[in-house]
Symmetry: C2
Subunit: 337 residues, 2 copies
DNA sequence: CCGCCTGCG
DNA sequence: CCGCAGGCG
């Protein structure tokens, strides 16, 4: 019996208690996490089953075409739980309809319910919106000058032990590496690292990016070996630069590759599809895989944490303002835990 | 007896003819070429020796400390003749005191008396000055739009057989390679090639420069093997780029290297010494060896053509306007012929 | 934070 | 034709 099973037991106890608001939210959380559905289905199934999670899950999976109905609920519990991480440069430097666009970001997070979120190019005004509208997350940040990176951790699943902020000494743009040392469901140590690496094509920026990336890879190895390490963000990375630093070190996995290199998720900054910037009349319509997520597994092989998905989010234009949330797409990875 | 000796004989014949202006100029030319002096000394010595070149040379070298007085005049003839080539980006895009600066360029050429001159960044207005004030040179050019490259050949020593203009297909700046197929003293075939390679540090410019340089090296090899080939100009070259294309091919010689890498002639574009641009208040004071000359010897080993000198010219500020002739220095190479 | 341009130090 | 900033398509 591994640590995750203990967590399940603990939660079963909670489920038999009173129906106050926090506990209903926890039931939704659990139902959605196991069934990979949404809050509407969770509400319906739980209401129909007297707010008993096991009964609601049983009823859901007994319905034909819902999940894998042949397995027992406990097995489904084990098999279907996901850890989700979403990373997004939300372009807080673009003032056009920023408040509406930031609300769009919040809506995506509410819908996706990732356990952790890496945000880049956040400005104070957007940060306030996030803190107001996403109370289900803890908000972690280093500096709050100009624009900055933020890590959100889902209160229900992650407890934060420590924060590290490592400035890049060579950065001309005040970029830094933000690290959150967290525990997932009180059992799994996960170090969450995000960064917004030096922008632009200039030689100095390119060189600085390589230094920043090398530092990050080193930090991933510096973490205790029994921790899982997730690092990524807007790395502004070019293939040549990765090649020049010797490609991704052994023991670290690019989660786009680990999830089968889905070609429809390749470009995270795509001026052929994203119209937030004025490239429509331009001769060049560049696109690139600037945003990436890397994974260093734990040395503890008994802990299940398998990459099972890579998706782009934020692909929809916001009708009211005819803008996307950002010039970058969000990238989201899932792990079977 | 090689071809150069024949040329000497031909000239001796000319020297006994009448004293019209052209022939006096030819006598000056010869005297200066052999003695490495200047027009004032040539005039004095020739006047004192009844315009007899042999007597004037004899008198000059019999004077203690003048040349190597122990050798015979004929030997000195052989030993001291030089072929000189000067290359200069004269910054015709800088309008500040351009006419005075172009006159400065003309003055340097008149003083140095190179057999051939490669000019880059010439504009029509400067071209007119050159044509007016340097009648001792033939002027060769391809396009005359915006700014362009020009080759000057000394009428007394070079006869031009053909001109080729090869546009660089990938250039964003209408750059091209200008080739003059010439004969030196009616005996030695010399192909003169100059170019102004793509400017700037951008990736596309850098890549285009490498393509341009590869084409030029190829053209140097395409010339008939019994020709000497001299190629160079403002190549805007970076060490990395030369490395990336595999360095200078075997059989081609960088004349700065061939002349012992004189460290005081390394930087041809030097914002630490040249004040034409506004770098005085700038944090960076860049300098580079942008201007280079390459040499492919003839397969005919009987023809003497040995690199014997590399110099910078145009190092003096013009007092009246407090500017240098150009933001580039001129580079000048000499061959013992 | 694409390429390219202009202007500044 | 240096690096960098700001603006444009
Ligand atoms: Mg951005
Ligand atoms: Mg120039």
């Amino acid at each position: 019996m591994n640590n995750l099973s203990q967590t399940n037991r603990e939660r079963s106890v909670r489920n038999h208690n009173s129906n106050n608001h926090n506990q209903i939210a926890a039931l939704y959380e659990e139902f959605i996490s196991v069934t990979n559905t949404n809050v509407d289905i969770a509400k319906k199934m739980l209401q129909e089953n007297q707010w008993n999670l096991q009964k609601a899950l049983g009823a859901y999976f007994d319905t034909p075409n819902n999940g894998q109905a042949s397995a027992s609920n406990d097995e489904l519990f084990e098999e279907n739980r996901k850890f989700k991480l979403l990373s997004w440069n939300i372009d807080g430097l673009d003032m056009y309809a920023l408040e509406v666009r930031a609300q769009g970001v919040i809506d995506v997070i509410k819908k996706e319910r990732p356990d952790a979120v890496f945000l880049q190019e956040v400005i104070p005004c957007s940060l306030s919106q996030i803190q107001t509208h996403l109370p289900e997350y803890d908000v972690h940040l280093g500096n709050v000058q100009n624009y900055f990176v933020v890590i959100l951790t889902r209160k229900a699943t992650l407890t934060v032990q420590r924060l590290d902020l490592i400035p890049y000494p060579g950065s001309q743009m005040d970029r830094n590496l933000l690290i959150i040392h967290a525990r997932y469901r009180n059992t799994v140590n996960i170090d969450l690292m995000t960064s917004h690496h030096e922008s632009g094509t200039e030689e100095n920026s390119s060189h600085e990016r390589m230094e920043q990336l090398k530092l990050c890879f080193k930090k991933m190895f510096d973490a205790p070996s029994d921790h899982f390490v997730l690092f990524g963000g807007d790395l502004n990375m070019r293939q040549k630069e990765l090649y020049k630093i010797g490609n991704v070190p052994a023991g670290i996995y690019d989660l786009w590759f680990a999830n089968g290199k889905p070609t429809d998720c390749e470009y995270t900054w795509d001026m052929q599809l994203n119209t937030n910037k004025n490239f429509s009349m331009s001769a060049s319509r560049p696109r690139a895989r600037f945003d990436r997520l890397y994974f260093r597994p734990s040395s503890d092989g008994s802990i299940k944490f398998q990459p099972v998905g890579f998706e782009l989010k934020g692909l929809d234009i916001i009708p009211s303002v005819q803008r996307f949330c950002s010039d970058h797409w969000a990238i989201q990875v899932s792990f079977s835990v």
